[in-house]
C-alpha cells in the first residue's frame, strides 16, 4: 500500500466515525422535553437519570425500590426524570400514562406513579381499567369530574405521545430504559449493574472539574 492509500484509509475511517457521532448527537439534541412536572431532585444535581417506563411492565415496577435506594444513597446529587413510554404495552398502557400525566398536572405525579405500580396487578388485567385510574386519583384527592375531563384532553394525550416518540426515536426497545447523563442503559438488569458505577464516575468527574 502506498502512502496515499494509507492516508485515504485513515481519512475514510475518520469520516465514518465522525458521521456516526454527528448523527447520534443530532438525534439526542432533538429530545429535550418539558418534563419537569415528573422530576425528583434539584435541577442542579450533577447526575440526571431519565427513565423511560411503562406502567404496565413488570420490570418497570420491580426496578422502583432500586431507584428509591439510589435516590436515598445520593441525596441532592441525582435528579430523576420520568418519561412516558407506553409503546411496548397493550392498549391500556397509553391510558395509564394519560392518567398519570393528568395527576402530574395537579402536582401529584409521583404518588400516582406509585399507586399505578403498587396496584398494577389490579388494573392491568381489568377489561375496564379506567375506573381504577379514576379511583386512584380520587384517593389522592383529585376532583373526579376534572380528572375524567383530563383523560380525554387532546393536549395531555399529545404530551404522552411526544415523550413516547422521543423513546422511539432513541430506538429504545425495552422498558425500563434509562439515560444517565447522556449514556443509555437498556433494561432492568443492566441498570442495576451499571447505574451505581456510572453515578460514581460522574460524581468523581464533577469533583475533578471543580
Amino acid at each position: 500500500m502506498t502512502r496515499r492509500e494509507w492516508v485515504t484509509g485513515i481519512f475514510l475511517i475518520a469520516v465514518c466515525v465522525g458521521a456516526i457521532f454527528f448523527f447520534r448527537s443530532h438525534l439526542r439534541s432533538n429530545l429535550e422535553l418539558s418534563d419537569s412536572n415528573k422530576a425528583k431532585g434539584s435541577l442542579n444535581s450533577p447526575v440526571e437519570i431519565i427513565e423511560y417506563s411503562n406502567f404496565e411492565c413488570h420490570s418497570c415496577r420491580d426496578i422502583q425500590p432500586f431507584i428509591d435506594e439510589l435516590l436515598r444513597k445520593y441525596p441532592g446529587k441525582v435528579r430523576m426524570v420520568f418519561r412516558h413510554y407506553p409503546s411496548y404495552g397493550t392498549q391500556f398502557s397509553l391510558w395509564s400514562h394519560v392518567a398519570a400525566e393528568c395527576a402530574a398536572q395537579k402536582g401529584l405525579f409521583w404518588p400516582y406513579h406509585d399507586k399505578l405500580f403498587e396496584n398494577q396487578k389490579e388494573w392491568s388485567i381489568s377489561p375496564r381499567p379506567i375506573k381504577y385510574f379514576i379511583q386512584y386519583a380520587a384517593e389522592l384527592g383529585i376532583d373526579k369530574v376534572e380528572f375524567e375531563k383530563c383523560l380525554t384532553d387532546e393536549s395531555i394525550i399529545r404530551k404522552v405521545r411526544e415523550e413516547d416518540d422521543s423513546g422511539l426515536k432513541l430506538g429504545l426497545r425495552v422498558t425500563p430504559s434509562f439515560i444517565i447523563n447522556g449514556e443509555i442503559i437498556v433494561g432492568q438488569r443492566e441498570f442495576k449493574e451499571k447505574a451505581g458505577p456510572k453515578i460514581e464516575s460522574e460524581l468523581k468527574r464533577r469533583e475533578l472539574s471543580l
Partner: protein, 154 residues
C-alpha cells in the same frame, strides 16, 4: 467485446454496492440505537456465549458500517470482501442453527429496532446471498469504479 466488458463491470459494481449497502445500513442503524438493543438481539442466538455478547454488540456494528463504506467506495475492497464474507458466514450459521432448532424470533435484529424488520428465514437468504457475492468479489478481485481502480489508474 467492448459491450460484454461493460456488462461485466456493471455486474461487479452492483455486487459490491449491494453487499456494501446492506452492511453499511445494518451497521448505521445499530449504531444509531442503544447498544443494549443489539445485546438483546444477540441473546436470541444460543450459540453465542453470554460473556462475549457485550464485546460483539460493540464491535459488529462498527465493522459492518466501516466495511460497508469501504465496499461502497471501493477502498481496500478485497480485504473488505474477505471480512464481509466471514461476517455473513457467521450470520448464516447463527440464523441457520436457530431455524433448524425451531427457535422462533420475530425479528432477526439485523438492522436494529428501527430499521427494516426481517423474519429469520428472509434474513437467512439475504445473508446467504450477500455471503455468496462477497466470496465472488473476493475470488475475482475485480473492482471497477472504485477508489482502488482510481489508485491503479484504471
Amino acid at each position: 467485446m467492448q459491450k460484454r466488458l461493460e456488462v461485466a463491470d456493471y455486474f461487479w459494481l452492483s455486487a459490491r454496492l449491494f453487499v456494501g449497502i446492506i452492511l453499511a445500513y445494518a451497521g448505521f442503524m445499530k449504531l444509531m440505537e442503544p447498544r443494549g438493543n443489539f445485546e438483546f438481539a444477540l441473546q436470541n442466538y444460543p450459540l453465542i456465549p453470554d460473556s462475549v455478547i457485550p464485546l460483539l454488540s460493540g464491535v459488529i456494528p462498527w465493522m459492518e458500517w466501516i466495511l460497508g463504506i469501504f465496499l461502497i467506495v471501493g477502498y481496500a475492497p478485497r480485504i473488505a470482501a474477505l471480512f464481509s464474507s466471514l461476517l455473513f458466514l457467521v450470520f448464516v450459521v447463527l440464523i441457520g442453527l436457530n431455524l433448524v432448532g425451531g427457535k422462533v424470533i420475530d425479528n432477526c435484529g439485523c438492522f436494529g429496532e428501527r430499521g427494516i424488520k426481517l423474519s429469520p428465514i428472509l434474513a437467512f437468504f439475504l445473508d446467504a446471498g450477500a455471503f455468496a457475492l462477497s466470496v465472488l468479489l473476493l475470488l475475482k478481485g475485480y473492482f471497477p469504479f472504485s477508489i482502488q481502480a482510481w489508485f491503479k489508474g484504471k
